[in-house]
Amino acid sequence: MVLNAPYTYPGLRGVRKAAEICLKCGVCCAVPEYGCPAQYDPQFNPKHTYVYDCLGAEKPASNPSIWQCVSCHKCEEMCPYEVSPLHFIEAMKQRALEAGEAPESITGEIEQVVNTGYAFPVTANTERLREELGLEPIQPTEDLKRIAEATGLRRLRK
């Protein structure tokens, strides 16, 4: 298997190490007690781990597996070679969003945050619970729409 992830990528936090140094030892996904949680998906096994699936895909940014990464840093903590697979997977997610290939769970949440200022919708139940507890109502904000306009995020939205 050839590791097909971008070998290095320019991130906001600087250029990362190359994915090609991954020796495919599988340690990051080997132990259920403290390894990669995405390895729990039955399509992955010790010979084809979640991390190989992401780093070895033919079109990495189009691979639906990338969205299972929860950025928990377990792979980074386990890796004996300091590959930090999560940073490559995060770079793939950024490319996928740019290319319009992010799933609804992601684009919907981004929309929610930009439009209301919160990641979760304020429902009638929320308002009732807050009132019962004597907490003040939640106020929406317009500021994040202006931020999304200025960062170019709005351009990516349908």
């Binding site: 007690e33 929860v70 950025s71 995060e90 945050v113 929320t126 004597g134």
Partner: protein, 296 residues
């Protein structure tokens, strides 16, 4: 100790009883929670910041700027908020070019980020600023004999050089916090494994349920009466998530999950109902009975 109170989204919207309990117990330890008008989502790391870092940084910078305008450090109630805001703060402090770029975006909102406040999870405030001696001194009814399995959660642990809370592979802080309340902490397999909340929301729901089942079974095998968490997503997963996973996995036990501040409230003399336990999905008569005996 005055802090700008960053409630986040998940707690005020889905779990407001945790916000209520925070306001009941933290001021008793000298932690003043200053409300801040205009705080938004941190933003949520896996949905927003990871996928569009510039927007994520700008939204975080706006939140940090609001705290700067008040002149206080931020206190959070959530691992995710802490993860997002601490990383944004460190990134922007270290990179002046990026800071200028983000400030040009923030100008649209009338705010400016200067890098003059720090971000602390409430567990960090309790262990570092308040001190566990003072927490222990505030206990009126020690939770003697209650066996508690603590789940620290991923995003307060890593990356450790930025988060600065505990050892990601051998976390001990939550156990120390539990000891301060008079309860007994437990070791169990899967102690550092993820709760699975993010996996169930963005990835594979069934995989997340099996992961949670393994984790809960390990806690149960270790003899846990209940679970202790310090993150609202972890609480939702171990409570509502447990209720759902228990159906598909046919678990023959229930382990109530409580937020640390709820244990603190119980130890300070509040009732289970005042601590918001009635808002939870997973309740266990054995746990309630044991607690009643301990608190009697």
């Amino acid at each position: 100790m005055k802090y700008s109170f960053f409630r986040g989204c998940f707690i005020p919207i889905r779990l407001p009883h945790v916000e209520k309990v925070a306001g009941m117990v933290l001021p008793k330890l000298g932690v003043h929670l200053q409300p801040v008008e205009g705080f938004t989502c941190c933003p949520e790391p896996i949905g927003v910041t990871v996928n569009h870092p510039l927007t994520g940084l700008a939204v975080s910078a706006r939140n940090l700027a609001l705290a700067e305008e008040q002149g206080h450090d931020i206190i959070t109630l959530c691992n995710g908020c802490t993860y997002t805001l601490k990383q944004a703060n460190e990134t922007l402090k270290a990179d002046s070019e990026l800071r200028d770029r983000v400030n040009a975006i923030l100008a649209e909102t009338g705010h400016k980020y200067n890098g003059t406040v720090e971000v602390h999870h409430f567990a960090q405030v309790l262990t570092d600023a308040v001190g566990l001696d003072r927490v222990e001194a505030a206990v009126e009814r020690p939770l003697t004999g209650l066996k508690v399995a603590s789940h620290t959660g991923c995003h307060i642990l890593s990356p450790p050089d930025v988060m600065g809370f505990d050892d990601p592979q051998v976390p001990v802080k939550l156990d120390q916090m539990i000891i301060a309340l008079g309860a007994t902490p437990l070791d169990y397999e899967y102690k550092t494994q993820c709760c699975g909340w993010t996996l169930s929301n963005y990835g594979d729901r069934n995989a997340a349920a099996r992961l949670l089942g393994d984790k809960l079974t390990a806690m149960h095998a270790a003899g846990a009466d209940s679970v202790n968490v310090i993150c609202p997503q972890c609480l939702a997963q171990l409570d509502t998530g447990q209720m759902l996973a228990a159906r598909s996995l046919k678990l023959d036990f229930r382990l109530p999950a409580l937020f640390y501040l709820q244990y603190l409230a119980l130890a300070m003399g509040y009732s289970l109902e005042e601590a918001g336990y009635d808002k939870h999905r997973v309740k266990d008569p054995g746990f309630e009975e044991k607690l009643r005996r301990i608190l009697a």
